[in-house]
Symmetry: C2
Subunit: 243 residues, 2 copies
DNA sequence: CGAATTCTTGACTAGGTTCAACTCCGGTGG
DNA sequence: CCACCGGAGTTGAACCTAGTCAAGAATTCG
């Protein structure tokens, strides 16, 4: 169940045995949470950082009038609130978007480890900065693209990220999100998102069945529509140790 | 000219004399750049990280058809590309939005300093995570707010950030951005942004003269319209210090 | 004083929201 | 076994926000 995280960790060059071991030793056994469970509540100061092992969680900001924005969708292998370790108070809540499994690392352990291993600290820092890069990409998606393109971008990104941790292949993956959740991530109404889904179906770019399995039928065309360029995901890792 | 950065640095509790000194020693003298100058080009791997001393710079993503999105507006005291130190390749370019002064720290120096001072490393990490928090806030602004509210949010945020580094007071600040730039940051057309500016003027919420001086006439109403809550900026203000 | 930016205005169009109803499907209990 | 229920997805129509195009005013700069 820790597979995805290990894969991600081992991508970093020069990852020492001892630092890797120190980090893994701080991970407690998996804890399940039901759909909708609020793993971290907005404005609190968590004492743990949560590693996602299975399922999807979202960082959610709730507005007046009940509208909400999902500012990030996390997949297995992601630290969903590592930034809270450094920042303290969280400006959003973290919610299970379906059934999930997580492992919560105590901040005091992280402090001990990062005091000892500067290189590992930069790796963790790196992970939080990839999140930031995803946010920036999201800003251009929300700011400058229309609905079908936004959806295409999300699907390309999720496929790439899931593939990276071994949870997608042959253009197919389990989305594990419903249309309302996707709409909330893309800043669209559920109705309009649905119409965008159908637009992509009609153009034979994707399949998306009721069970939530998505298949990308024509990657090139979908990526073109999305103007998707995976550079920002930093899948070829360097870690600040360039000399 | 280093004032804003010093102010920000000294906000961190437990900042040691030696670590503070080590960081300041790595800052070269100011370099001027003209408006529009591309400080970092997209997809390159910079060997320096740039501290902004005067003016405004933007992180800009250019799309096909010439549209562009400004994913971040940086003010004096901000490290505009500290993330590049950890990430390596940049997924956007960094452009002077007006005349600016900067100081570029060599990555090798940063590496030396962060190897030595774990606490300082967390402070720098912190700075990059506040950027990320601003991005998340931007996502909800672009995703779920309409134009006048977006503009109101940007003005509240910029005022708060500039005030934090001593560059705004009495509700007044130098925006140093033109309407096209603001529109590119908010995901709006220049025409529609202009209409939003006029809407806020008509409601007596702001003044915004041709020289680029903005005055917030009614903070409470503007902040309400924007649903602005400064928590995400990670500043701790004593009450009444905000205006 | 003329040229170039920046801002402003009007008219029209396109994309997206809202509301309400309806379908599809899986689960549950009589 | 089937009727019912609820959640998720789908459809249509009216409305509205924002984009586009194009032209004109205001300001700055050479």
């Amino acid at each position: 169940m820790f597979e995805p995280f290990l894969r991600r960790l081992d991508r970093f060059p020069n990852m020492g045995r001892d630092e890797r071991q120190a980090l893994l030793a701080a991970l407690p056994p998996p804890t399940p949470s039901p759909p909708g469970h609020e793993i971290i509540r907005q404005f609190t100061e968590p004492r743990h950082s949560t590693l996602l092992l299975e399922g999807r969680v979202g960082r959610i900001v709730t507005l007046e009038r009940g509208a909400q924005q999902i500012t990030a969708i996390q997949v297995p292998g992601d630290f969903v609130d590592l930034h809270a370790f450094v920042l303290g108070r969280l400006d959003h809540s973290v919610v299970a978007l379906g059934p999930v499994q997580t492992s919560a690392v105590a901040h005091e352990d992280l402090r001990r480890i990062t005091d000892r291993y500067p290189h590992l600290t930069r790796c963790l820092w790196h992970l939080t900065l990839v999140d930031a890069a995803i946010h920036r990409q999201g800003l251009t998606v929300l700011g400058r693209r229309e609905a079908p393109s936004r959806l295409a971008h999300l699907l390309c990104e999720l496929y790439t990220r899931l593939h990276d941790v071994g949870l997608a292949r042959d253009g197919t993956f389990a989305l594990e999100l419903n249309q309302v959740q996707v709409a909330d991530a893309l800043g669209l109404s559920a109705v309009h998102l649905n119409r965008s889904v159908q637009a992509l179906r009609r153009r034979d770019l994707i399949r998306w069945d009721r069970a939530g399995t998505v298949e990308i039928l024509n990657w090139d065309e979908l990526a073109t529509l999305a103007e998707f360029d995976p550079t920002y995901l930093q899948l070829t890792y360097s870690d600040g140790d360039r000399r």
